[in-house]
């Protein structure tokens, strides 16, 4: 299936992905409501976006007591708003920290691959986020290890 492939070396930290994501998901430009999150590394000299990998287990989906998380035709695990009661079980079941909760709507939300045309990938000017046929994997670990050596050596962010 097509997945969001992250190439962290190409990320400039422009946050366009967060803006595009929040606009697509909520209709407003509000990075706080984005389900792709850019984190700084090496004292804000490099950046990497992080989002749901649509993992095989689907911990959020199996944990939901009312079946409110389903698999879309694009292969994304998606929250069905009408079914979600806001119990937050999915937020502790997901071991990746990629389930979000909106305290205003009392619903969980997450990356649903925008129905097969992810806004983040479209908005990324440097192809740090690309949507393509691939086996999902840990896109960030090598980058994060390399970019945190100095942080660990000096002991502070």
């Amino acid at each position: 299936m097509k997945v969001l492939k992250i190439v962290p070396q190409k990320c400039t930290g422009c946050l366009r992905c967060e803006l595009a994501c929040s606009y697509m998901q909520t209709g407003s430009f509000q990075p706080a409501k984005s389900v792709i999150r850019v984190s700084p590394y090496e004292g804000h000299t490099s950046y990497a976006p992080y989002t749901c990998t649509q993992c095989a287990e689907g911990w959020c989906m199996t944990a939901c007591p009312v079946g409110a998380i389903t698999i879309t035709p694009a292969g994304a695990k998606d929250v069905v708003d009408d079914r979600c009661v806001g119990c937050k079980l999915c937020t502790i079941a997901c071991p990746y920290g990629t389930i979000f909760y909106d305290p205003d709507t009392h619903k969980a939300f997450k990356c649903n691959l925008c129905g097969g045309a992810p806004a983040c990938a479209e908005a990324c000017p440097t192809a740090a986020i690309v949507y393509e046929e691939a086996e999902t994997c840990d896109w960030l670990a090598d980058f994060a290890v390399e970019r945190s050596t100095r942080l660990l050596a000096v002991g502070g962010p």
Binding site: A56, E57, I71, G97, T136, A141, A144, S148
Partner: protein
């Protein structure tokens, strides 16, 4: 002859077992379900209580779903005795059912202290759908509700009671709230937060009797003032439904002792959910985790094994999350291990607290408290679960987390936690979309 599976209990474990059997065998086997109540989710009853969902929303399967799954049902019947040698179950109406294998998933019931007046009208438990209906009928705006007990169950309905416009007093016999979910510092933080939001909390008070008082309930304590309540909710604990298995020869301790395939001492009798005492994924010790995620995983593993797969369960992770007045309170794993090395971090101005418990450079437990509006709280809840679940070695990141217990994300990512987690599935295959009945979805 196709296998005859018997599922006793239609809660989370039972329903997940049925769904998984059908995912595996497509309908080839016989499934019989015995359940005292219609299948519904207790987890969502708080949202029925505050009327944010209709009653129809709580049901996890209808008669039509069960028929579609080709399940023979005995709903409204209780299991009375199990003959594990003869492979038969006797129901409370005297009927017997033969099986090739069975799952005992009879769940828990709410218990009350044996004090005078504990069963008076207006004194409720909040555990079953029927009990939820009674509480709904009894609360009106301005009602004074007294909640006896300050544990997880009590806290799951706290928001609902407040949103109905009731005044709430919580009374707890222990010296602090949430004694089995967070540590003392965490409890103090939550306590202060609730008081700020208008909840009255009395800790260290022993309830001695409840009396009827002109349409209200008067609660008397060993010491101090009495309380007058419109409605009393006894959130004083739950107990697994195991009494009916006495004399069955099934080995039990706090729950039914099960192996890594969730088999009891009778190999064709499985147990799951609140009645099962199985492996803790962190400590490896046998334990009853009476929580929804354990019941779900138990049910799925049992279903796969009943369908002929050979699925070993890695063990369950103790975890709870509850939101009270927009404060998230969550804990994982061995957060209360008194011998574990622990780092804590407190940000009183944000009502945020972290506790990280260690074995060497592996995280074995965590407590996380923070405002629900903080995106980081929710993300960190998941990542801390992932770190405890995967048990990755954090190496030099341990020292980083000692200094910066709120900076979880870089430690999670650089420790290759995602890589460790991605191949992991409960059933050794990708999960499928839960099939829900059309009548329920609508």
């Amino acid at each position: 002859m196709p296998a005859r599976h018997l599922i006793i209990g239609a809660g989370t474990a039972g329903l997940n077992a049925i769904r998984t059997i059908r995912e595996e065998d497509g309908g080839a086997s016989e499934i019989t379900l015995v359940a005292a109540e219609r299948p519904y989710s207790r987890m969502v009853l708080p949202y029925y209580l505050d009327r944010s969902i209709a009653e129809s929303h709580v049901f996890t399967a209808t008669a039509a779903t069960l028929a579609n799954w080709k399940v023979k049902t005995h709903i409204g019947k209780k299991a009375a005795s199990l003959n594990a040698q003869g492979n038969t179950l006797t129901l409370d109406d005297g009927a017997t059912i033969e099986y090739d294998d069975c799952l005992v998933a009879t769940g828990s019931r709410a218990i009350r202290p044996s004090i005078p007046g504990a069963d008076l009208p207006g004194v409720h438990s909040f555990w079953t759908l029927e009990q939820a209906r009674e509480v709904i009928a009894g609360i009106a705006p301005g009602s004074h509700v007294v909640m006896v007990g300050a544990g997880f169950i009590a806290f799951t309905i706290l928001n609902s009671i407040l949103s109905l416009g009731a005044k709430l007093t919580i009374v707890e016999i222990a010296p602090r709230i949430l004694p089995r979910m967070v540590d003392e510092r965490g409890a103090l933080l939550v306590d202060a937060w609730l008081r700020k939001h208008g909840v009255r909390i009395l800790t260290g008070v022993a309830l001695t009797r409840i009396e009827a008082a002109r349409g209200k309930r008067r609660l008397r304590f060993r010491k101090g003032e009495t309380l007058l309540a419109d409605l009393v909710i006894m959130a004083t604990g739950i107990k697994p439904n195991l009494d009916w298995l006495e004399g069955s020869g099934i080995r039990m301790n706090h729950g039914i002792l099960v192996d890594d395939h969730l088999r009891s001492s009778a190999p064709n009798v499985y147990a799951g959910g609140d009645v099962a005492e199985g492996k803790d994924g962190v400590t490896g010790a046998p334990v009853v985790h009476a929580i929804e995620p354990t019941a779900m995983e138990h049910g799925r593993v049992v279903g796969a094994n009943m369908a002929g797969r050979d699925v070993a369960y890695r063990g369950s992770l103790n975890m709870n999350i509850v939101e009270v007045c927009r404060l998230d309170v969550a804990s994982f794993g061995a957060w209360d291990d008194p011998n574990a090395e622990a780092f804590t971090g407190l940000r009183p101005e944000r009502s945020a607290y972290r506790k990280l418990c260690w074995s060497g450079d592996r995280l074995t437990g965590a407590i996380i408290i923070g405002q629900a509006a903080d995106v980081w709280t929710t993300n960190d809840v998941g990542m801390l679960k992932g770190l405890v679940h995967a048990g990755v070695r954090l190496g030099a990141w341990k020292e980083h987390l000692r200094r910066h217990p709120f900076d979880v994300k870089p430690a999670f990512i650089a420790s290759r936690t995602t890589e460790a987690l991605l191949p992991q599935t409960i059933l050794g295959r990708p999960s499928r979309t839960p099939e829900l009945p059309a009548t329920v979805i609508r």
